[in-house]
Amino acid sequence: MQQSDLKLDGNAIAGLLREIFTMEMTNANSTCAGCGKVHAVGRVDVYLNAPGAVVRCPACEQVLMRIVHNRGRYWIDLTGIRCLELGPGE
């Protein structure tokens, strides 16, 4: 295994995000609060080998989201996302 293979992408948390937002979220666009770059949630970097899901901006590596889940309770930090644009499929 290569160390880089611990980095996944937003597709890997599509199910988790559907639990929270009850919408398909990989097509949503997230604006990084750090560098301002916009990425589809399916495209962002995701680290799952951790106590929670850590979502990072592929451009600047800053944390976009942190999601901790335990027995039906969720803790969601979205401070790294300036804007989340979502809606029905195009």
Partner: protein, 201 residues
């Protein structure tokens, strides 16, 4: 009860909790790599370790200075909140007692901070009294970057997220300031024997 997958046992939990395995944990033989971000790469030449915050004269060591501090080897059990426990891990490091010796502070709390932006908070009491180290060797070899090298905090009596990888310093605080995971659901202290995993545990 609900649905059961015929014949599924899972590969975990060979060892039930015991005097050495806290409740809800299972023993592993490998050393899983946990990663909340890219592995920082810092050259020894640029590495420093600092004590800052509630301290009149902030302290700072270069790698060479740090390695001249008295160090010790020790064997401990480590417990990750993701439910694995690894027994008899061998380390070398500098005791926090050595590092905090002669430090005068009004602070009762600490925040360890790392390359890559990770932070974790601890009561100062959990860092002193021979319970915590800045470790630079694992199993007789320099600590791998994936396990926190060149140096990581090691506080084995608390869940391993407290043992900040790639640690670069400790900020002394008068108040307990939640770190990276503690501000997002994880327990402020994280005692595995009390299963202090999440807020409210």
């Amino acid at each position: 009860m609900g649905f059961v997958s015929r014949g599924f046992k899972g590969k975990r939990r060979d060892v039930a909790s015991s005097s050495r395995v806290p409740p809800g944990q299972h023993v592993v033989d490998d050393f899983p790599v946990l990663s909340a971000g890219p592995t920082p790469r810092v050259s020894i030449a640029d590495w420093t370790f600092s004590i800052v915050g509630e301290i009149d004269d902030p302290k700072r060591w270069t790698w060479d200075e740090f390695r001249k501090l008295p160090s010790e080897t020790f064997t401990v059990d480590i417990h990750c909140v993701t439910k694995w426990t690894k027994l008899d891990t061998r380390w070398a490091g500098v005791s926090l007692d050595t590092i905090l010796d002669e430090v005068e502070t009004a602070g009762e709390y600490a925040v360890a901070y790392s390359d890559g932006g990770y932070t974790t908070n601890l009561p100062l009491d959990d860092l002193t009294g021979g319970k915590a180290w800045i470790a630079f060797e694992y199993d007789g070899r320099p600590l791998d970057p994936e396990h926190g090298g060149p140096a990581r905090l090691l506080v084995p009596h608390l869940y391993l997220w407290k043992s900040a990888k790639w640690v670069r310093g400790i900020s002394l605080q008068t108040e307990d300031e939640p770190g990276f995971w503690e501000s997002n659901g994880y327990h402020l202290r994280g005692d595995p024997w009390r299963e202090q995993r999440y807020w409210g545990d």
